[in-house]
Amino acid sequence: MFKPLGDSALLIQLGDEIDPIINQRVHALNSLLQNINGIIETVPAYCTLLVHYDINFSYQHIKAIVQEKINQVNDSFQITARRHEVPIRYGGASTDLEIISTTLNLSISEIIKIHSEKEYQIYMMGFTPGFPYMGILDSRLQMPRLQTPRTLVQAGSVAMAGFQTGIYPLDSPGGWNILGWTPLKLFDPHSDTPFLFSPGDVVKFVPMESNSLLFEREQAP
C-alpha cells in the first residue's frame, strides 16, 4: 500500500482500478494531508496519492503520518466537490465529430446528448498544466485514441479517449478524439486563481449554439 518513490516521495495505493469511490477516497485523503509539517505537496491520481516530502524527514515518519490519516478516511468520508458548468460548442473545424459519428454509428445529436447529459468527476490533473482527466464516459462513446497524435490541438478543445473525457488547457500535441470547443480559460498563470478546476471537482457540459455571442467574443477557432 505504501511504496517509496525515491528519497523524498511516498506513493500510497488505495486500489488498483479506475473507480469513482476509490478516487473519492484518494481526494478525501489528499485533503487530510494538506498543511502538515514535512509534506511539500501531494499529487492525487486515479487510485493513488503521491506525497512529496522534505528529504530531511524520514520515510518512516511520513509513513506514520499518512497511516494515521488513512484511518480517518473510513467509508463515511465526505468530499465537498465544486461543480462547474462548461459551455461547449460541439463540432466545427478541427474536430473529429464526423469521424466519431461514423465510427460509433451514432448521430451527432445522439453523441451530444450522451456526452452532455452526464456529470463527470475530475479524477486527476496532469499531462499539461490544468488538464483534467474526467470520467466515466458512457460506454456507447468509448473509442480508442487517434492512431497518430495531432502535433497541435487548440486550447479549449474538448476531447475523449477510452472511458475518459478532457479539455486541453493549452495549445499542445494530443491524441484524443476532439468533440468540440469551450471558450473557458482553464489555465491562466498570471491570474490570482490560475486554475479553473481542481482535482475532485465535478463538471457538466452545456451545449451551446455556434452562433452564441460567447463564441464570437472569444474568437472561436
Binding site: 511504496k3 499529487v43 496519492l49 503521491l50 528529504i55 530531511n56 481542481s198 482535482p199
Partner: protein
C-alpha cells in the same frame, strides 16, 4: 545588468523549482543539476533560491553593463573574457564593459551562471523557473538584457572565492548512479542493474532516454497513471528506460523500476549522449537520505 550579445542552445532562467502546483499538472522544473546551481549561488553570496541562468548544450556571450561578480559551475564548459580563462566553480569580478563568453568545450551538458544579487525575473506561480512546454517563461535570446538584484554584500568580498567540487561531486562520464527500487520494481529482473547504459540522442529537460539492454517485464498489465518525480525511471512498453528529469510531467503511465537518488541526479544530468557509460545500483531510502545530508551540509 548583462546584455546578451550571442546565445545558442537552451538557455533559460531557473531557480529551486515550482512547488505546490503538481496536483494541477504543473511540473517542478528548476535546475537540471541542482548541485551546480546551488554552488553557483553560494559562491556569489546569493540565497539558495536565487534565479540563475542555465546554459544547456550551447554558448552565450554577454557584455556586463556595470561591475558585477559572477560564478559559473557545471560540467563541459569554459568561461573566457578573451584575455583570461576563468575556472569553473569560482567567483570572479567583472568590470563594466567587459565581454564574457561561456563556451561548451568538453563532455557535460549544463552550466549555471549566477550573478551576485541574483537575476531579477518575475515569478510565475511562485517561481522564476522556465517551463517552455507550458508557456512559463522563455529561452534567452540574442539582444536580451538580464537585470540583477542587489548583492548581499560588497562585490570585492564576493569575488575570488572557490569551491572544491571534486571533494563533493565526482562528475564522470562513467558514473555508477544509485537508485531506490520503484513501485513496480517486482515486474522486472535484475538486468537493468547488471548492464551498462548510455544516454541516447533523445534527451532534454523533460527526460533522458537510455540505450542499452532492453528490459523485459514479467507482468505486462497496463499501469493506471500515477504520480512521478524527477529521477523516476520508467520502462516503456518496448523495454527502454527513460529517466524523468526537471520538466518531468507530474504523472505517468509506464511502470517505474526505480528512482535515481537526489545526490546522484547531477551525475546523470551531465552525462554525454552516445559516449557515457552509466551503471545503476540499488540502495535504500535511508542510505540515500544520509548521503544527501552529508552533501547538503555544504549549503548552510
Amino acid at each position: 545588468m548583462l546584455k546578451v550579445i550571442d546565445a545558442t542552445g537552451f538557455i533559460s532562467f531557473q531557480d529551486i523549482g515550482r512547488k505546490g502546483f503538481q496536483n494541477f499538472g504543473v511540473p517542478v522544473s528548476g535546475a537540471m543539476d541542482w548541485f551546480a546551481y546551488q554552488v553557483a549561488n553560494q559562491l556569489v553570496g546569493n540565497s539558495q533560491n536565487a534565479t540563475a541562468l542555465e546554459i544547456g548544450l550551447g554558448e552565450i556571450t554577454f557584455q556586463a553593463k556595470q561591475d558585477c561578480v559572477l560564478a559559473v559551475t557545471g560540467a563541459g564548459y569554459e568561461v573566457q573574457n578573451y584575455i583570461w580563462t576563468f575556472p569553473l566553480w569560482t567567483s570572479f569580478y567583472v568590470r563594466a564593459g567587459w565581454y564574457v563568453q561561456i563556451k561548451k568545450t568538453k563532455a557535460g551538458n549544463w552550466a549555471y551562471l549566477a550573478i551576485a544579487g541574483g537575476f531579477d525575473v518575475p515569478k510565475i506561480l511562485g517561481s522564476s523557473s522556465t517551463y517552455m512546454r507550458g508557456g512559463l517563461g522563455n529561452h534567452i535570446q540574442t539582444g536580451n538584457v538580464l537585470q540583477s538584484g542587489k548583492p548581499s554584500t560588497e562585490l570585492t568580498k564576493l569575488a575570488a572565492r572557490d569551491f572544491p567540487v571534486q571533494k563533493f561531486m565526482r562528475y564522470s562520464q562513467s558514473p555508477t548512479i544509485e537508485v531506490i527500487a520503484g513501485p513496480q520494481r517486482e515486474r522486472f529482473d535484475n538486468s537493468f542493474f547488471e548492464n551498462e547504459y548510455t544516454l541516447s540522442k533523445s534527451f532534454d529537460r523533460m527526460g533522458y532516454r537510455l540505450e542499452g539492454k532492453i528490459i523485459e517485464a514479467s507482468d505486462k498489465t497496463e499501469l493506471i497513471s500515477e504520480g512521478m518525480t524527477m529521477g523516476s525511471i520508467q520502462i516503456t512498453n518496448q523495454g527502454q528506460p527513460i529517466v524523468m528529469m526537471a520538466d518531468s510531467p507530474t504523472t505517468g503511465g509506464y511502470p517505474k523500476i526505480g528512482n535515481v537518488i537526489r545526490v546522484d541526479l547531477p551525475l546523470l544530468a551531465q552525462c554525454e549522449s552516445g559516449t557515457s557509460t552509466i551503471r545503476f545500483k540499488e540502495v535504500s531510502v535511508e542510505e540515500a537520505q544520509e548521503k544527501y545530508k552529508r552533501c547538503s551540509q555544504l549549503f548552510t
